[in-house]
């Protein structure tokens, strides 16, 4: 495919020069970044509205929606958030990391527009079919539960569009290298996006393997699709799709750390190796969804669930040290060298990119990562499968982690790419805290109710009308209430984000950005602080001692949570 995407010698691109970063910005790429980012935000808005309705239904005291609409909206929420919002934003990110950051032009912008239209058409199709009540099958669409053929077709359109965008990204990288638009190696952020894009390729191909036969089956062209194989193929798409988010998010963490405090990766070798670990091992994670399925045996499950010895987890543990470590070193170089944590106390907490980075990393790691590895353990999964612990885990990763990181980055894309003055800076400054606090309650409420056995995707835990009542402890109800309150707070945070974005884009003065940071009255940390220290060795005074203590505390928490889960399992009925 790359040969098709090669630019012809006659290709001409128009550039502007960014006054902040001195990078040349391809105007075609810029328009595509804007289009994809806007589409992402639109689906975030729809998905967020759905989220509110769902949370207010599962909060048993309110119990807003009737069952059919609850399941319908849940299907739409899953697709809009996990697929549409994420992938549109990632495509914007790929064009940014590929063309803009490498000073290069985007190849074949017309094809990129075609990809955009395919994705948009697919996403709209899925939403329409779901809202018409023709696809009450959940995001996972497990066969033999059948949806309208256009539901599967919509997903296929979206995936094909995304695949084209990824291929264009690779072609852009090749062109940039050939045309020597940058010196040295590719920046780490772009490198992380390459990892995300490689994962995206096999993710989207698995999606095709899952959805194309299912589409044929829904049309009546083939008789049946095996539910066990479908689950395997679907999760080879569904889980790695979230790992694309993960790799993109980690890349954005490095970007936010660079933008807000001028952090430079401590050791490029280490950080880059961690991304390689993702590429090699993270796809095995799809087996996490099949741990209590009939079919595969212990060895298959244990090998896959451990990502062949938790090597992808190791990748995340490396970033968990490298990113705060880079922030600490950058801060210590500014003179905040007292004690273990002065660098953190004196950090730019009012800068939304910084608070978004810290909250995103904290909730992603401490809640999402720890619970994810724990429930992804073969035997422990029996106490977690399809309970609220699962949405609790991925709301901490995908929402508190990835979504918040994407939100944080948006505040910098508006002046740099939209070239609009960012309005409502105070709102932007508070937004990560409001959203993060709300999501903390959501995740903890979900996990705590799941630990008490509450099922996910379930309309009524009072079981009114069922032949038997299942005893749900009242504390579980309380936890669902906490989740509901958290959802309202998070929605407020989401509305703040959307308001800042929309007000800035539509009413902000058109102006060239003059510095990278938004609310701090200081120079550009990225350009002025960082260049001086690239390649300078880390000496004792600036060594990341505080980070070392923080990661050890994190590990202690991890160990305690993990082994308490084995203890919980050990109290269960005997089963083999």
């Amino acid at each position: 495919m790359a040969t098709i995407a090669m630019p012809t010698p006659g290709d001409k691109a128009t550039f502007r020069t960014c006054p902040v970063t001195a990078l040349k910005v391809d105007l075609a790429a810029e328009r595509l970044i804007i289009a994809n980012a806007v589409a992402a935000v639109v689906f975030l808005l729809i998905g967020g509205l759905f989220a509110l309705l769902l949370a207010l239904t599962r909060w048993q005291a309110i119990h807003l929606l009737p069952p059919d609409w609850f399941y319908r909206i849940l299907t739409g929420h899953g697709f809009d958030m996990l697929v549409a919002w994420m992938v549109f934003f990632e495509v914007a990110g790929l064009y940014f990391g590929g063309a803009v950051m490498l000073n290069a032009r985007l190849v074949l912008p017309k094809v990129a527009w075609g990809a955009f239209i395919l994705m948009a058409a697919g996403a709209v199709l899925v939403n329409v079919i779901v809202l018409l009540g023709k696809a009450d099958v959940m995001f996972t669409a497990y066969v033999p539960l059948k949806a309208h053929p256009l539901f599967y077709l919509g997903i296929i359109f979206f995936a094909v569009g995304a695949l084209i965008a990824v291929i264009l990204f690779f072609a852009t990288l090749v062109t940039a290298k050939r045309e020597k638009t940058y010196e040295g190696s590719m920046p780490l952020v772009t490198y992380g996006l390459v990892a995300a894009a490689i994962i995206a390729v096999y993710t989207l191909l698995s999606g095709a393997l899952a959805f194309v036969p299912t589409f044929f089956w829904s049309m009546g062209w083939i008789d049946n699709v095996d539910p066990g194989y479908y689950r395997n193929l679907f999760w080879s798409f569904g889980h790695p799709a979230q790992q694309i988010n993960l790799a993109a998010m980690v890349a954005i963490w490095y970007a936010l750390a660079a933008i807000t405090v001028g952090a430079v990766p401590l050791n490029e070798k280490l950080s880059r190796s961690a991304f390689i670990l993702y590429i090699l091992f993270i796809n095995l994670g799809s087996a996490h969804h099949l741990l209590v399925d009939p079919g595969p045996g212990f060895l298959w499950k244990a090998t896959n669930t451990s990502y062949a010895m938790y090597l992808a987890v190791l990748g995340s543990l490396i970033h968990a040290f490298s990113i705060p470590g880079a922030v600490e070193v950058a801060q210590r170089r500014k003179g905040f060298t007292n004690g273990l944590l002065e660098w953190l106390r004196k950090a730019p907490w009012r800068e939304p990119g910084f608070s978004a980075l810290v909250i995103s990393m904290t909730l992603f790691g401490w809640i999402g990562g720890v619970t994810g590895v724990t429930i992804g353990t073969e035997q422990i999964n029996m106490t977690a499968h399809n309970t609220m612990r699962l949405p609790g885990h991925f709301h901490a990763t995908v929402v508190s982690g990835t979504t918040l990181a994407f939100m944080g980055l948006t505040y910098y894309l508006i002046p740099l790419i939209f070239r609009k003055e960012l309005k409502l800076k105070k709102w932007a400054s508070w937004q990560p805290y409001v959203f993060g606090f709300g999501m903390l309650l959501v995740s903890v409420g979900m996990i705590a109710s799941g630990l008490q056995g509450v099922s996910r995707r379930h309309w009524d835990i009072t079981f009114a009308g069922a032949p038997f009542k299942a005893a749900v402890p009242s504390t579980a109800q309380l936890m669902l209430g906490i989740m509901g309150i958290g959802a309202i707070i998070a929605i407020v945070g989401g509305i703040m984000y959307l308001t800042v974005v929309l007000v800035s884009v539509f009413t902000g003065k058109r102006q060239e950005a003059h510095r990278l940071t938004l609310v701090m009255e200081q120079k550009n940390p990225l350009v002025e602080d960082a260049i001086a220290v690239v390649g300078v060795e880390v000496d004792e005074a600036v060594a990341p001692k505080g980070t070392f203590v923080i990661v050890l505390a994190f590990l202690m928490f991890f160990v305690i949570y993990y082994f308490s889960n084995w203890w919980l399992l050990g109290r269960s009925w005997m089963i083999r």
């Binding site: 959940m138 010196e183 952020v189 280490l270 244990a302 099922s455 379930h458």
Partner: protein, 173 residues
């Protein structure tokens, strides 16, 4: 954000090295916990699976109910099978059949399958969860360690009546 110089393959800082060693050791421990529990733990994920068909599974369940039925509860048969026997639980929209009456401390081979769509076996408040697929006969060897009444909640979405699908297991002393 910035392009680093061409050669970035540099040795690690002391702290990075220490963290890498600590983190990797934790990963190794995480890995060996699973085989350790597999050999020494009393709760392991069942692996026995047979191919079946909805018709065949329906027949097996019907025969099982006829053989051991002792009572009826909410129009569902209550079945009290002897220990060490094969017991059948059938999932369909939106019902678990039959109600099982087991003895505490005794072992049973619990068969799980569906005759229509996917379902989720969620034993509450024990909180043991297994996936139930049509066409797959999943066999879990279980030993109840508590007595009392337990419910089986369906925790895989199985269309509109999903939340009504609750079954029962009664464990006697």
């Amino acid at each position: 954000m910035l392009a680093p110089e061409r050669i970035w393959w540099k040795p690690l800082h002391r702290m990075e090295k220490s963290w890498l060693i600590v983190a990797f050791s934790w990963c190794v421990l995480l890995t060996i916990m699973m085989p350790l529990w597999f050999f020494y733990g009393r709760q392991n994920v069942p692996a026995t699976t047979f191919r079946t068909t909805p018709q065949k599974y329906q027949q097996q369940t019907t025969a099982f109910i006829e053989q051991y039925q002792v009572d009826t509860l909410n129009r569902l048969p209550v079945v009290a099978p002897p220990p060490d026997s094969d017991i059948y639980l059938l999932a369909r929209q939106w019902q678990w059949t039959p109600v099982l009456q087991l003895e505490k401390g005794k072992t049973y081979r619990l068969h799980l399958s569906s005759t229509d769509v996917q379902h989720g076996f969620s034993l509450q408040p024990v909180n043991l969860n297994l996936q139930v697929l049509p066409g797959y006969d999943y066999v879990a060897t279980i030993t109840p360690t508590q007595s009392g009444e337990f419910s089986i909640v369906c925790n895989e979405f199985c269309s509109i009546g999903h939340h009504l699908m609750v079954g029962k297991i009664i464990v006697t002393e």
